[in-house]
Symmetry: D2
Subunit: 433 residues, 4 copies
Amino acid sequence: MIPRYSRPEMVSIWSPESKFKIWFEIEAHACDAQAKLGVIPEANAKAVWKAKDVEFDVARVDEIEAVTKHDVIAFLTHLGEIIGPDEARFVHQGMTSSDVLDTCFNVQLVRAADILIEDTKQLLAALKRRAIEHKDTIRIGRSHGIHAEPTTMGLTLARFYAEMDRNLNRLKKARKEIATGAVSGAVGTFANIDPSVEEHVCAQLGLEAEPISTQVIPRDRHAAFFAALGVVGSSIENIATEIRHMQRTEVLEAEEFFSKGQKGSSAMPHKRNPVLTENLTGLARLVRMAVVPAMENVALWHERDISHSSVERNIGPDTTITLDFALARLTMVIDKLVIYPDNMIANMNKFRGLVHSQRVLLALTQKGASREDSYKMVQRNAMKVWEEGKDFLTELKGDSDVKSFMTDSELEEKFDLGYHTKHVDTIFKRVFG
Amino acid sequence: MIPRYSRPEMVSIWSPESKFKIWFEIEAHACDAQAKLGVIPEANAKAVWKAKDVEFDVARVDEIEAVTKHDVIAFLTHLGEIIGPDEARFVHQGMTSSDVLDTCFNVQLVRAADILIEDTKQLLAALKRRAIEHKDTIRIGRSHGIHAEPTTMGLTLARFYAEMDRNLNRLKKARKEIATGAVSGAVGTFANIDPSVEEHVCAQLGLEAEPISTQVIPRDRHAAFFAALGVVGSSIENIATEIRHMQRTEVLEAEEFFSKGQKGSSAMPHKRNPVLTENLTGLARLVRMAVVPAMENVALWHERDISHSSVERNIGPDTTITLDFALARLTMVIDKLVIYPDNMIANMNKFRGLVHSQRVLLALTQKGASREDSYKMVQRNAMKVWEEGKDFLTELKGDSDVKSFMTDSELEEKFDLGYHTKHVDTIFKRVFG
Amino acid sequence: MIPRYSRPEMVSIWSPESKFKIWFEIEAHACDAQAKLGVIPEANAKAVWKAKDVEFDVARVDEIEAVTKHDVIAFLTHLGEIIGPDEARFVHQGMTSSDVLDTCFNVQLVRAADILIEDTKQLLAALKRRAIEHKDTIRIGRSHGIHAEPTTMGLTLARFYAEMDRNLNRLKKARKEIATGAVSGAVGTFANIDPSVEEHVCAQLGLEAEPISTQVIPRDRHAAFFAALGVVGSSIENIATEIRHMQRTEVLEAEEFFSKGQKGSSAMPHKRNPVLTENLTGLARLVRMAVVPAMENVALWHERDISHSSVERNIGPDTTITLDFALARLTMVIDKLVIYPDNMIANMNKFRGLVHSQRVLLALTQKGASREDSYKMVQRNAMKVWEEGKDFLTELKGDSDVKSFMTDSELEEKFDLGYHTKHVDTIFKRVFG
Amino acid sequence: MIPRYSRPEMVSIWSPESKFKIWFEIEAHACDAQAKLGVIPEANAKAVWKAKDVEFDVARVDEIEAVTKHDVIAFLTHLGEIIGPDEARFVHQGMTSSDVLDTCFNVQLVRAADILIEDTKQLLAALKRRAIEHKDTIRIGRSHGIHAEPTTMGLTLARFYAEMDRNLNRLKKARKEIATGAVSGAVGTFANIDPSVEEHVCAQLGLEAEPISTQVIPRDRHAAFFAALGVVGSSIENIATEIRHMQRTEVLEAEEFFSKGQKGSSAMPHKRNPVLTENLTGLARLVRMAVVPAMENVALWHERDISHSSVERNIGPDTTITLDFALARLTMVIDKLVIYPDNMIANMNKFRGLVHSQRVLLALTQKGASREDSYKMVQRNAMKVWEEGKDFLTELKGDSDVKSFMTDSELEEKFDLGYHTKHVDTIFKRVFG
């Protein structure tokens, strides 16, 4: 986790304090269920809750762990120090460390997912607002970086909205993937603990009971979770790349907001660099790099090995913190993006009408020219525009072959921009309903 | 694609013949819709269907493409050769190559997904059958490769069933992710083609119309698709790893089926190597390696660039073919897996009762010993078993501290295996309903 | 492997015919060494060479393998059919299949590396030629896609040369990494075969004897090999990205060569798309995707498992074939790249002198203005150019604060382009010697 | 970076204090060179060194950066606060931020590489010591997890030594890859700064001057660097996997050192889990996950974009810190590994002589039996051992077909273990010289 690319709410999910709080809740709820079953005395179950509002002493737990080399035992020892060793003696009964660790990890991932879902909603709101604002802002569409046909800035933003809306859906599914808990004992057989304890603990924490666990919750769930985050990251890169292209000196159809005090470069004061979206491109790589290790974590040996643990200690916090930051940064970029409609028009007109070649081609075909002939007529005039700087409409009007199929006014009609935007409302309806 | 790791049905989806067939269908359905709109003559639309049952001449299309360097134009030229240039002149009107290519690719992925879904169902059937067969086959559960507590072979198989059932669900969602088509023109504005054409084509091909496309269908869909396949691959590795461990010489709790004629090694005739599951481990890596490039494909420039294309020409066929083969191979392995219950028992008894230490520990606590004291009592006797080869129950009975808490018969009761299997039915119910 | 992205010479390395030829050579050389040691009769060793010029019958070997399910045994059986079963009885004595398979794989990789090294040299030649040609072709340097300071097209190409020269070096090292062979028996102890056999076979095939092998050659070598290829692929992407940017409609400083017959798009005849470099971007992803599986292959179980094999059957041919094709394609692109110096100048002048702001800033500091003040003076005039389309030099001349530090002629001197190119020769000397 | 998987020396390389110290050195050395050229006054160059032993105030720099949003400017401002604004006015003249940032990053990577190289040497020493100690400790070699032929524990360790020795070599090359610096200005043309400044700065910092840079040092170097680390990580996984297998309950040929106070599990006191090597397996995944993003960083736009920066802020520290920790942990594991020669013998004898089947097969062939017949004779007796628990030698002696080729004493001779270890010294000589 890099502090400069993190936000406090997500960071706090991964603090030792938060972790111990969740561990406590798992243990306390388990005691309740055990007491209800008559396995442990009700008084002991009740006593545990004395620690409910305690801020656990991280340094003290670390101190104990330095001796025991076991984090859960260290925590339980510390808990005993708080509520009394006698009161604490039934805590964790029948459970194994992983019941606590794995359930806690999933609680943290669920909370992280909730933030990411909220982030995505905010991004969607920004994209929608800007899409509607620029629904009819004409802009050249480009394939291969080359001018193709007109589109609108609103369509560009609506397309990002649709993509992020799919990501919202993926995040919701990813949340569901890891919203399970397990309190099933050393190898998942419930030998030492009744399944009803698991059900109680999970219900209290907003999780489903894992239908079948071993010592651990199966890691295909986590692989699917981080894969979903990787897709979201890739979409962030997609939007960031578009903005970086728009801000290029030669294009300049948009710019990231540039605050007054900000210095773009130590040496070139005129430069306004798309540093936020470039940064987002890098953050996307960081989010994506968790996907393969999360998948490598799936094949644990027998009922579990602990190879996944160090991976998750890293990618659990790092990937969610980075993605949270990236989504928020992108939202801010979209929200404040300075868009230059005039430059969009100027860019589109750079090639004197060539953009309408496709329409002319079609019109010639419809007027009876063969596909091959139409193509040749359009191509030869297009080349004059391209190579000699001529005006496309003028050239077409002067081409006797073209003339034999189309009148001047028919040609002019093909250069009308409204033709390209006539279905924008239809598409917006598809996207925004 | 490696022929030895492929099956004909999946391979055929990716043949040029299949591709041209789908291209034809897209063009023909588009003509129908165009004719209905009155954009092209109905007779021409009808004429296209003359090629309905034609096997397109791949070599001829390649020949034309060698000149035009454009695959869709080459195909359309060949189509014109079949149905007549005059009849063909309205084919592809208002469309762009990507309308055909992208919609076709998604049709292929959907068909591939259908096979993978069917494969997974077959695997699930095999896992379920074997799980029920070995529901009560006692086996030692292992964490960190070390004996932990007893479980059953049925639970192992049920756990793989549950994991693969989640994968079935992921594959269904992945299928849905890419079950869209687009016929929206050069930059996705429908400038030259009515949205109703797209709707008709998609409906005929069993796809949804992509709500908003550019020249291409957005690649976050494909990233999510290949990510799902990567998770399935990782689960295959998980199961394969378990079997490889079970077949180890020292463990020998199961073996891959070994056909009579098969030679395990050119030099060591006694060897029966788990080569199928080792192979599956490698195939999982191949499936997984498509995930990152599929994610890198998302950030196309503006309305599209063609960088994704070469990646997809590879991972489209290779990843689906490999996963299909792997799922089928795993199904066969599970189906015929030779399981050795006697060896399972022998392995479990290797450490003379140590497996029951957890129960004894709990019992001591419940009898009133402190957690720390109980731990010490169990640990010191366990060490005698481990280091001196003593019998755990005998040692416990001879420990005066233990005696002060538990009688001999109470101790014996803790060594009963039924204790560990009492919730197997509950778990099976959770998994199989 | 995708036929359209492959070249015959590299493909032929990976044909079954080539493989069997290499297998034969390994076996025949081993027989020679065994005969020399007196382990097998010299006549038998000699007899093996009867098959020296035989084209092995791939179909026949496949047929035998279908029964034996073991490829090396199938080959040896077929070899016996050719040279006579009696003559063949000492072939492979003391060896294990992996002695043949692993040594062969490395021979193939070495040959592939030789081609890749030759490819890279050709690319270097093209880059050097074009670099020298455009050594002084002025062009705006860009950071963040934004105009920074002038550079030359020659420097851009020289930089790619230097990068590819490092890659040449990496490929040579990668070749060395896998230029080893092993004929060390079932677990690498030479129990059944003398180390001198290994030395003889390796020497004959141009390999080093692997100092210590198990049944297989250690896979860290192959991981390093494919990692090197991944770096080369990434450099290809780097160059391809530059060209794609240069060919953008708004930039148009260069174009891929566009042959006369070629159609850029079925609908927009004026489009010349950078499809080759976009394709190279995708191919780079394919090359790179082999890196992680090759690394996952390193941790084989004990003296070997066969999980690496299916991975290598894929990435061995696919990655080398793809990279060979990509290097050759890039060489062709560089060789024929159409460069537009006039457009470079026009682009540079787009912002009326802003490109010289850095120099002015420095000059002001050197004339005694504080860094902060200089920055402000430059910034406020730059903003007038940026926002109001003013000319930078004119504005500076009219700024009384600037005037107090610099005369008009001093300002003019800062707008001289030669200032930026004065060290081009120095850099060229560093790169090309 | 996860504190529990880090060591202070490596961590300190990446502290803000270290970074500012290096920035300072770059700036101060640059001033010296500039003064020598007469570009700036010598007194100012000298004045800068007043800050030589200053511990820079990280909080103060952060405070300034919060306003300027530019880290290098913030640092320079703070430097001005220390040495006086007037004295500081020529600092950084002609340079761009990346001259400082990139050169600093490479200094940090070089220092990190030095530690990793030292780590690897320590690991090599441990491996060598243990290899020599167990040179003749007989152990069964396994392929596919199945017993193959005898080898020795020394050979296993020697093989890891050879692999890590190759890694040492890779790390040295990786160090060389990134041991370059650049002080070449905004786009690498040295327009505002003489190449001799770069040479001076680099020489002082132990770097080579980058032959041709843009604004940044080319990222193929860093890709190669992290790829090398990924290979080292994979080798760590390889060794860790071997130990995990050896510690399995059923194998128990070795155990990680288990300190007295350490608790293996909260519930099962007899368990000694290979948690260190499992952890190393996970750490290897973390090291490896940096490879692809580092490769994605290569293709920066034009003379640079800043997408690589966030990636490197993460993988720079995280990957080197993790690998340093992993190498040290592995060294400790190897150093203290508890090896059980008796268990090795017991495991080898588990299948009553089957391990010698290969030798018998060869002997039969040499005695004149055909390869096919020999195979059948060995196989049928081997199956009796495998399936009925018979003794291999006894069965062979009782087989009349075998008898017709070999006497009892000839058979017995084939069961001598010395046969397998006769070349151990040769191999050790190859590895250790």
